[in-house]
């Protein structure tokens, strides 16, 4: 990992966290569709990042979001969760042995279909974990499920579009 990659990761972490905290925190549709775009920081880490580094980055990002959401530990826990699971998901999506460290996580590197599948799967895992942990019980199962489904759709779309947009900004 060279300095340039580290700077890139730091920049993306700052941009996504600020977006999350100042804009998307206030953007909730029909009281059910939330948008947690900060997981992009973890989703789009280079695939060669060691899992332990990814875990630490996820933890720090999660805690930052937590401070603004008044939920100590909740987002950090969910973020650490997907940072850990990411490696396995990549292995499942790209079954050929050893290749998962060389995948470029982007539309060009993966193909649109697989890229979207990757985003949706991880977003779904993150949101399911987050909302059930936040509710603390399975009592409002339907209500929580509705929140999860609506939020996964909303977040995935925003994550995909933002990624494409930021990429085009960088290239131009």
């Amino acid at each position: 990992m060279n300095t340039q990659t580290i700077l890139k990761i730091a920049a993306s972490a700052i941009i996504y966290t600020l977006l999350q905290v100042f804009i998307l925190r206030n953007l909730v549709f029909f009281d059910v569709a939330f948008c947690f775009v900060y997981i992009s920081v973890i989703l789009f880490l280079p695939s060669s990042t060691p899992t332990s580094t990814a875990l630490v980055i996820a933890f720090v990002t999660g805690i930052l979001v937590d401070i603004f959401y008044n939920t100590a530990g909740l987002h950090a826990s969910a973020a650490v969760m997907i940072a850990y699971i990411r490696g396995f998901i990549l292995k499942v999506l790209f079954p050929s042995k050893g290749l998962e460290n060389e995948i470029v996580i982007s539309v060009e590197g993966m193909g649109v279909e697989r890229f979207i599948r990757y985003i949706v799967i991880l977003t779904f895992i993150h949101h399911t974990y987050l909302f059930f942990l936040e509710a603390g019980t399975f009592n409002f199962f339907l209500n929580t499920s509705l929140k999860i489904l609506a939020s996964v759709m909303f977040s995935s779309i925003v994550i995909f579009l933002l990624h494409v947009y930021l990429k085009s900004l960088r290239n131009s």
């Binding site: 905290v21 100042f22 206030n26 909730v28 009281d31 939330f34 060691p50 899992t51 332990s52 875990l55 630490v56 933890f59 999660g62 805690i63 937590d66 401070i67 603004f68 959401y69 008044n70 939920t71 100590a72 530990g73 909740l74 950090a76 826990s77 650490v80 969760m81 850990y84 942990l133 936040e134 509710a135 603390g136 409002f140 209500n143």
Partner: protein, 283 residues
């Protein structure tokens, strides 16, 4: 031994994952401990400052709404004034002494951050200990009850919104029939955690006549809020024959997504009242 270390080294990612998760769960479970409350939430000065900036932008856009709120507040006050002027002591023999009548003090505070669609919701306001705000005081808005102060530091406080799983408000129902009968229908207003526009009103005796559209206000029997502050209007009443209480849903009158100014209520006699209620000398 080398093999053991080999295994440990191989699963180092898993152990780091486990350690971080344990930290997270520790933070979640200790959310009420002092150091945590003062650092990991929006009362943290840096965080509160930045939230204030973003709130200022919202404020500018919402100036029209603020005007509207202030105007309706003025109207309500004017009405209260005339009510007071025309009120004659209704109950012969009872005299409200002036200390009791003036026991409530109000502090106007600005909302700098709030949530209303989580399971446990909080509001951050820009008044703290320096302005006389203490934990436990009630918070109301021009439209109705908002919640109770959870924690106050020098300049900011964090308020349990009524949309919090552990927040309850002593309430009563107002209508013509109850007034004629000379009874009160007391209950406890509590959020059930689903829709941020509705709360439930529990433990209202099912033989009390209550109906859809009746006002639900804070009761006389609570030391935190002034009596008869609006909570909301009854949206639905249902009961099965076997239950002792009505099943009541109340539509909140305060809109938690657009709170801008709130009033922190200080009851100057609360210590005296609590002392009388819990004096250890009386068994």
């Amino acid at each position: 031994m080398t093999q053991l270390f080999g295994i440990l080294y191989k699963s180092r990612h898993f152990f780091l994952f486990l350690a971080l998760q344990i930290i997270c769960f520790y933070l979640m479970s200790k959310n009420n401990v002092y150091w945590d409350v003062s650092f990991f939430n929006t009362t943290n000065n840096v965080v509160a400052r930045s939230l204030e900036v973003s709130q200022k932008a919202n404020e500018f856009v919402g100036l029209g709404k603020v005007n509207e709120q202030l105007a309706s507040e003025n109207a309500a006050l004017r009405k209260q004034l005339t009510d007071l002027q025309e009120m004659n002591p209704g109950i012969p023999g009872y005299k409200q002494d002036s200390v009791m009548a003036r026991r409530f003090d109000y502090t106007v505070a600005k909302v700098v951050g709030s949530t209303h669609n989580l399971t446990d919701n909080f509001i951050t306001i820009d008044k703290g200990i320096d302005d006389g705000v203490r934990a436990g005081m009630g918070v109301i808005s021009p439209q109705g009850v908002v919640g109770q102060v959870a924690y106050a530091n020098k300049n900011y406080s964090r308020v349990y919104s009524i949309l919090h799983s552990r927040q309850m408000v002593s309430a009563e129902v107002l209508n013509q029939k109850l007034r004629e009968n000379g009874t009160v229908a007391l209950g406890i207003a509590k959020w059930d955690g689903t829709n941020p526009h509705y709360v439930r009103l529990n433990t209202v005796d099912r033989f009390k006549p209550v109906a859809k559209g009746d006002s639900v206000v804070t009761s006389l029997q609570n030391p935190i809020f002034p009596p008869h502050v609006m909570i909301g209007k009854i949206n639905e009443v249902s009961n099965t024959t076997s239950e002792a209480f009505h099943n009541i849903t109340v539509r909140l009158s305060a809109d938690f997504s657009s709170l801008i100014y709130v009033y922190v209520v200080k009851n100057k006699l609360i210590e005296s009242q609590q002392e009388a209620e819990t004096n250890p000398g009386v068994k």
